[in-house]
């Protein structure tokens, strides 16, 4: 059973309205996916550029710095919508192991950004360097793995069912 405060969160009137709305819930879910669609690809393209696989005619710093504000905007949109979805079904999602895997992956992404802060801060160095240093390539490769894992864990949240309990399909879908 989820702790009382989790149930209380889900029982708040805004959360209940969001969860029970035939329109608002799917609209927020759509925006969550739109954020991924518009901006998830930007993360991948940044990483592929650092790896020297894509957009090699463009300087690394142009791509990384040029896309940064857009990735931040997309992350804000996706995370805000995700938080609203989680809030609206907090007690339903609480026992779901894939939610916890996804949250753990977010913690790893924060650690990644701290560990590799130097790579992204001094991205201009890569323009002048004859070959992309291994540390930058490692950062980019790990970023791709982490974000694909986030998407995978996120999708799996919708497929887990608590053992034994009869499942209300309307609550589980997506």
């Amino acid at each position: 059973m989820p702790p009382e405060f989790v149930q209380a969160l889900q029982d708040m009137s805004i959360a209940t309205a969001l969860r029970e709305s035939a329109l608002v819930f799917p609209v927020i879910l759509s925006l969550h996916l739109t954020g991924m669609g518009l901006f998830g690809g930007l993360i991948l393209m940044t990483d592929l550029r650092i790896l020297g696989i894509a957009l090699t005619k463009h300087p690394v710093s142009d791509i990384v710095n040029g896309l940064r504000p857009w990735k931040h905007l997309g992350l804000t949109l996706t995370a805000t919508c995700g938080a609203l979805l989680l809030w609206s079904k907090a007690a339903i999602y609480y026992p779901n192991p894939y939610l916890w895997i996804k949250l753990t992956l977010f913690a790893l992404i924060i650690i990644h950004s701290l560990v590799f802060r130097g790579v992204y801060r001094n991205i201009g160095d890569l323009d002048r360097s004859p070959a992309i240093p291994g540390r930058a390539k490692l950062a980019a490769a790990l970023s791709i793995v982490l974000w694909i894992s986030v998407v995978t864990a996120g999708r799996w949240i919708g497929y887990w069912e608590p053992k034994g309990a009869p499942v209300n399909a309307a609550q589980v879908v997506n």
Binding site: A22, F25, P26, V27, L29, S30, L33, T34, M36, G37, L38, F39, G40, G41, L42, I43, L44, M45, L48, A54, L55, K57, H58, P59, D62, G66, L67, P69, W70, I148, V151, T152, R155, W156, G158, Y159, V173, N174
Partner: protein, 150 residues
């Protein structure tokens, strides 16, 4: 539509294997993130919002293979997902809307949008082309999600 009436999807591996369906969905999401994400890069430039050091034409050419790869992944996994229950999808308003917008978006992308990206760097045509592209692709995503809610 009659084509699918006699088809029994219950033996389709997507319905018998616990993993097959969600794996297709994850690949579908990754595919559209790459496809639409790379199109967004060209849009950011056409709308004059960023990436101003690059020309739209260079961005189109640089992202072209990745957009195509992303869309290909979507167009492979989409019909697989569809095969799990064709009659349900064909009757579904969200699905019909999504497919309509997808066809429009694809046609638009590889004709008018392509021409603008390759020939214009700024101005009204570039902005219009970017806005229409954004609207079409966002509509496709919304239609896809609403399949589960209509």
């Amino acid at each position: 539509m009659a084509l699918f009436l006699a088809y029994d999807p219950s033996s389709n591996p997507l319905n018998t294997n616990e993993w097959a369906f969600p794996v297709c969905e994850v690949l579908h999401i990754l595919g559209f993130a790459v496809g639409i994400g790379t199109i967004t890069m060209v849009n950011i430039r056409l709308l004059g919002l960023g990436l101003k050091k690059e020309s739209p034409a260079d961005l189109w050419k640089g992202t072209f293979p990745w957009t195509l790869a992303g869309l290909a992944l979507v167009l492979i996994t989409g019909p697989l997902i569809f095969s799990s229950d064709p009659n349900m999808y064909l009757r579904n308003e969200g699905f019909r809307f999504k497919i309509t917008m997808l066809v429009l978006a694809l046609l638009y992308h590889y004709t008018i949008y392509r021409w603008v990206a390759l020939n214009k760097t700024s101005g009204g045509a570039a902005v219009m082309a970017g806005l229409i592209s954004l609207l079409l692709w966002i509509s496709v995503v919304f239609g896809g999600i609403f399949i589960a809610f209509v």
